[in-house]
Symmetry: C7
Subunit: 79 residues, 7 copies
């Protein structure tokens, strides 16, 4: 199965420049435009917003945000 | 015992394209189609759904989901 | 002492195909047939059952289960 | 996408000498001038201030502060 | 000081086949005969018993027990 | 920016023999004279004192103190 | 500064055979004679005693004690 051979991180590459939502281990949810990431899943997001994970209501705008990868729980790509 | 020689990760390979259920350390349960994984157990799931671990009721649809491997507790393959 | 020279993991090998009980760090207890494991103590169990650690009552059958090794507290071999 | 190829840490380089805000895993928020960092995200901040993460009120001035990288949750660059 | 040059793990070797008591990070105390260990402090104990850490009362017999090393707090050798 | 090229740990070197204050992850605050440190941020402090992090009141004198680096949250240099 | 060049672990060497007090991350305090340690800060103590960290009252004598290094918070050398 060809598709299966791609690594998980290669799927994130397709999201460069697009909107993603990052859920951190401590429950915080951040939405923003993916500008950079690495193997540790360190992330840089542009126009980042902290939102309520349930209501999706924006709690504050944080501009460009650097996230240390070990805090990441999961990531979704907005379509 | 021949079967015993296969690594645990090689069993996940057989699930490519099929439905799996991932229980995270924080108790969240995610069901979805396995699209990719690596040695750290980073996972990409398609058509992912967050469900209640007890009632299996779907709480929200999250589309394509990237999970950082260190958060994984265990994985079952749906048959 | 010859016996002492064997590594702990080599003792698990003797359990291939047999029943083991895995206690996870979060208190969950899983019983099942050991199908595969590796150095990280990632495990694959067949006919896995989640049980109450005290009463040993089966709470649910989970079929084939993949456990990420860093969650393992200890393992007993059923005789 | 050229921009995507830059590593997350390279974005921090652009902030040398400028004001950043560091949120630690335990909820503490530190603002200060970025003087040095490394791959582990160990940081040295000048004129560092501990602030309330919500009101941004300064709780105490701590001068030059060395932060061990594994405590970092995320970093924003003040503009 | 000659004695000081021996590594901590080499002291455990002297306990092969003898009774040890293992205190786990989560407070559980296990007594048993040391059959095997490695550098990670993964342990195999024979005739293992879970005991109350204060009263030393045996709570249950668990037979041969495999303990994942990262859960170990400390170990005493019974004399 | 020349200054930016120095590693965070090189800033600690300037504090050798001087007073530093170490905040540990569990909230304990230790003041003392920096005698030695390494890449893991293991530290040896002379004339170390445990103090209240808020009132700075000395709770006890502990003499020479060895701190395991992974417990360090941040360090300030007293001037 | 010559003294500054010695690694933190080399200071522990001077304590071989002498009394040390080890505070563990979970708050337990152990006093005993240092017999062996390694780079991970795994420790072997002789005539070890668990004491109350505040009153220093001995709670129990544990004889020879092996401590897994990752549980160590800090160590003081008794003079």
């Amino acid at each position: 199965m060809q598709k299966g051979q791609q690594s998980p991180l290669s799927y994130l590459k397709a999201a460069y420049g697009g909107e993603i939502v990052v859920r951190l281990k401590n429950g915080i949810e951040i939405a923003g435009r993916l500008r950079s990431f690495d193997d540790m899943m360190n992330l840089v997001l542009d126009s980042a917003k902290e939102r309520d994970p349930h209501s999706k209501e924006v709690k504050r705008n944080v501009g460009t945000l650097f996230i240390r990868g070990n805090n990441v729980l999961f990531i979704t790509v907005e379509e």
